[in-house]
């Protein structure tokens, strides 16, 4: 080769191209499309899911540097062993009374979900979503927070409200969109809002709550407050840009916020591979942002509690954000509009290697002598009856589509603090329309 520089890039490329005729030997590119292992008709086999021993990933110091605890983002925090004992460094050491409350709240959530799902099937409302199989991720987490910490939930954390003793009748009124609904019948069922209970208004648009939780935490930090925020989303929702916006801001401002990904394996019909789980864990998303990441057995209520407590202590001590992945399973359909037998293998939940969160907590309590199967069965019946009683009370206020709704004119309230002229005009028009429709007596409705 002489030392003459090529005169142009195209000359350079032409020379390179000649050398690179080896490219012809490459096999053609192909597009990878993720595919879940099991589909309808298959028998699921979760043998490849690694369930490490309790304490295989011991509890680090709450002030640990994120870079020093990367292992935790790939492991699985566990407390309850196969023998139903609580063990290891993550064991939060809760007293029996606290454990019993935890179990009771999870069972109440389950009873509530069953009843409301059925109400939708009976045509009493338009929609419902259960959290079956994921109860620990809303109940145990909330128990590890202070009451005045702020929660930014997705649509599947009704357990937060139940744990914070929000009146069930108010939840039902919202589900029925009736005249008792605190949200004035405006929102789809389960899209609650309860500021007094530290529960942010739920959006139908996925993951928008993520940066909002960071903003709330930044505000709290800037005011020298002691409160922190916690935010939840599903595995599928981590793909939204807002997830990544949130992690960036939280890392930059070291915000006192706890990010939680409820990895229940499914996003409607799409398995978690469509959110990137074929390549890494959701907890490991934290690593690139330089924040702490924990991967937790989401069906082990004590592990869930312990992880949340670790992250909360860390945030409260200016240690900054944590991202927690709860590895769990969506035990039933996405919502009342969904039939999972169309896209996943039957019986997956029964075969799930991490079991059922309620059963595991119950077994633990029984093993330590703080509970019995008979007590458990009685409690299930008691809670189911209790929910039914509340349901009757709620239905006094009406069910969807049967006339007992908030007054028509409330439709125009709260668009703005003060109603502008055009909404006043439209409101008057709407009232005249009701008159035309129902006759002069319509106001009685």
């Amino acid at each position: 080769m002489d030392n003459k520089l090529p005169e142009s890039f195209s000359q350079l490329w032409a020379e390179m191209d000649m050398e690179q005729s080896t490219k012809d030997n490459l096999s053609p590119l192909h597009l990878h499309i993720p595919e879940p292992k099991f589909r309808p008709g298959d028998v699921a086999d979760f043998g490849d899911i690694i369930v490490p021993a309790v304490d295989a990933y011991p509890r680090p110091d709450e002030h640990a540097m994120p870079a020093d605890i990367h292992r935790l983002a790939y492991g699985l925090v566990r407390v309850l062993g196969d023998d139903h004992q609580a063990m290891g460094s993550w064991n939060p050491g809760l007293d029996n009374a606290t454990l019993q409350v935890m179990l009771r709240k999870m069972l109440l959530l389950r009873a509530f979900d069953d009843r409301m799902f059925r109400a939708q099937r009976q045509g009493k409302t338009s929609f419902y979503m259960k959290s079956f199989g994921e109860e620990a991720t809303s109940v145990a987490t909330t128990m590890a927070l202070d009451f005045d910490d702020m929660c930014f939930p997705s649509y599947r954390q009704q357990g937060i409200l139940i744990t914070r003793d929000y009146p069930l009748v108010d939840m039902m009124n919202q589900i029925y969109s009736n005249r008792g609904d605190r949200l004035k019948g405006r929102q789809l069922p389960i899209m609650y809002s309860a500021k007094d209970y530290g529960f942010f208004s739920i959006s139908g648009n996925l993951t928008t709550q993520y940066p909002q939780a960071v903003g709330w935490a930044m505000a709290s930090a800037s005011r020298g407050d002691t409160r922190i925020s916690a935010v939840w989303c599903g595995d599928g929702s981590t793909a939204e840009g807002d997830f990544h916006n949130a992690l960036t801001f939280a890392a930059v401002y070291n915000a006192p916020v706890i990010f939680q990904v409820v990895n229940n394996q499914w996003a409607i019909s799409s398995f978690s591979g469509f959110a990137g789980s074929e390549r890494t864990t959701f907890a490991a998303r934290a690593i690139g942002y330089g924040i702490a990441g924990l991967r937790v057995d989401g069906n082990d209520a004590l592990a869930v509690y312990a992880a949340m407590q670790w992250a909360a202590n860390r945030a409260r001590n200016n240690g900054g954000p944590t991202l927690i992945e709860y590895f769990t399973y969506r035990g039933e359909g996405h919502s009342t509009s969904d039939d999972p037998s169309a896209y996943r293998a039957a019986e997956e939940y029964a075969l799930w290697p991490l079991g059922d969160p309620v059963t595991r907590l119950k077994d633990h309590l029984v093993t330590i002598g703080a509970w019995s199967d008979a007590q458990h069965d009685a409690l299930i019946i008691e809670l189911s009856e209790y929910v039914k009683t509340i349901q009757k009370e709620a239905e006094q206020n009406g069910i969807l589509g049967h006339g007992l709704h908030h007054p028509f004119e409330t439709m125009f309230e709260d668009v703005f603090e003060e109603m502008p002229w055009h909404l006043k005009e439209q409101c008057a028009q709407m009232l005249e329309e009701q008159q035309d429709k129902f006759g002069p007596d319509w106001e009685a409705r």
Binding site: A239, E240, A267
Partner: protein
């Protein structure tokens, strides 16, 4: 080739047929979106297409509307013809930057160097007790953007022909599907049983390829007393009200909002001397405002009454008060009374 045999289809089946035909006809067509692959879409619009055409032609995506549309722009830049689905129009907003700043302007800013032949399909509109995030009609956001075509069918026949034309179009198209009428036309009388598409002439859909040119309206009812400009679900509501009240209205289904079939509008309004515009979307700055402006600019001296707008109210879509919100038979009847009186 055998002659195309019309078959009765509902709107979902017609859309599915259009996608199926285009996948077979053009190897550049790819379909992607949340739940569209194995499952076939939450409304079943892509049912069976992955099994038939393969996983790299019809596939699920991460839940990121910004990603879906951005990836679509990149595929189009390569030379493909992506047909992404946004599960509900209410969820298109995270993708707005890629649509508005990128897809819509690519041809212009690159002086034709790059183009974006992408068709974004999305179910829109209310009347299904979907609350504020499953009911919106955001079409005027898109007609306001320079460089996007906006198409809204009102029958299975039109849905298929328009969707094929949209996919073949070399510009980005937003294709909004009125989900309330996926399974049958809607009269606006929500307490009456739903009529299936099979009873409607618009459900006679040839099984083979055909296209309906974008930018052409359809006169769905001829009349002399008043012109009604509408689209989507409201075409059927207007038809029901007009026949119920014996109004001699000329109903124009715009089908394409942009580019608008201005000739059809002008001819009709000049004939009838009255014009009502009807849409489900909120009123202020809605597409009806554009229509009213066009009509008064072009037909002012033919008008015997002010242009009347019948729309949804300027509030988020409510859940329990859905039918007080929806521009149904009562609101329409009052508007007809008013416009015919003047």
């Amino acid at each position: 080739m055998s002659a195309p045999v019309p078959k009765t289809m509902n709107m979902i089946e017609a859309i599915n047929s259009a996608l199926d035909i285009m996948l077979a006809k053009d190897p550049d067509v790819v379909i992607m979106g949340e739940d569209v692959g194995y499952f076939g879409g939450v409304f079943r619009a892509t049912a069976g297409l992955q099994a038939k055409h393969g996983k790299t032609r019809v596939f699920d995506t991460p839940i990121s509307e910004c990603g879906i549309i951005g990836v679509g722009v990149g595929m189009a830049a390569y030379g493909l013809r992506p047909v992404p689905e946004i599960q509900f129009a209410d969820y298109i907003y995270p993708g707005l930057d890629q649509l508005v700043s990128e897809a819509a302007r690519l041809r212009y800013r690159s002086a034709n160097d790059f183009i974006c032949p992408m068709t974004v399909r999305s179910p829109f509109g209310g009347g299904i007790f979907g609350g504020q995030t499953h009911s919106q009609s955001p079409e005027s956001l898109f007609t306001h953007v320079c460089g996007i075509k906006t198409v809204i069918p009102a029958t299975p026949y039109d849905a298929k022909g328009l969707l094929i034309a949209a996919i073949e179009d070399n510009d980005p198209v937003v294709f909004f599907e009125p989900k309330r009428i996926y399974n049958g036309p809607f009269s606006g009388y929500y307490d009456r049983p739903v009529e299936p598409w099979s009873k409607h002439e618009g459900s006679a859909v040839p099984k083979d390829y055909y296209r309906i040119e974008l930018g052409k309206a359809a006169v769905v009812r001829e009349g002399a007393a008043v012109t009604v400009l509408t689209y989507g679900t409201m075409v059927h509501v207007v038809k029901a009200v007009v026949s119920e009240h014996g109004i001699d209205a000329e109903i124009i289904d715009l089908r394409t909002l942009l580019p608008l079939d201005i000739e059809a509008i002008e001819a009709s309004v000049k004939k009838t001397g009255r014009c009502m515009v009807v849409h489900e979307a909120t009123r202020t700055s809605g597409f009806g405002a554009e229509l009213a402006a066009q009509v008064q600019e072009r037909c002012f001296y033919h008008l015997e009454a002010p242009v009347e707008r019948v729309t949804g109210f300027d509030t988020p879509y409510p859940h329990s008060l859905e039918w007080a919100y929806f521009p149904g038979p009562v609101r329409l009847a009052r508007a007809f009374d008013k416009i015919m009186k003047d």
